[in-house]
Symmetry: none
Subunit: 120 residues, 2 copies
Amino acid sequence: MVEYSSHLDAVFHALADPTRRAMLGHLAARELTIRELATPFRMSFAGASKHVRVLENAGLVRRTIRGRSHLCRLDAARLAEANAWLRRYERFWSAKLDALEALLLEEDLAKEDLAKKVKE
Amino acid sequence: MVEYSSHLDAVFHALADPTRRAMLGHLAARELTIRELATPFRMSFAGASKHVRVLENAGLVRRTIRGRSHLCRLDAARLAEANAWLRRYERFWSAKLDALEALLLEEDLAKEDLAKKVKE
DNA sequence: TGAATATTCAACCATGTGGTTTAGTATAAG
DNA sequence: CTTATACTAAACCACATGGTTGAATATTCA
């Protein structure tokens, strides 16, 4: 097991993987079992289970064992810590906030286009 | 060199190391050369230089070569992107639960899943 | 010119990471 | 009791990471 000197090490490491970020996204909707978390991904169940463990070790996910199922729920406290760290640099980007908002808007529009494409 | 599917992969990975976070902290005060960035740390100069490279590849630092010195400055745009990602979970740590925000988050997640499907 | 400085590059090492497969442990259901 | 389900554990693999050292390159200074 890796020892982290700061929560931020573990949290940012956990967030640096798209599978794990997507898992957090799904947990934002509701609590999910390991199997439910694993299903959307094209990887072995054991592999997905290891990703959940990384999220759990980073304190981003809490697990409740209920019978043979492990129910996972999001715990956002560590996300708040990461956000607090990032916000210390806010003055460096707030000057260009309009540009960022424009960029995010464009990304949203791109996603909408993708949604349209899939429907077709 | 690692290929990242999203900026967030590279940015969060860069932030997951305390040396690199400290370097960003120093760059928040003023522009610094590689040597100035390296000095505070108990590691070889080449080692520190590699950390700067990671920050640069993540788009967090811009380099200007000036004679034999490489001047580095913070570029916060990618930090803003990371912050924007984190803030989508804000409702989970800020007590106020805004129904509209929750709805928007769920919509965003649906779009992301679609984007992933299209990539595959 | 020659020496010192600032930096990268290349090779190397130990350990970490994301992934797999196979086996093992509980628990639930027939 | 037996079988299916949910999950972890362990062993393994290829490759990335963080670190080192030593040599190479470019620039400045005396």
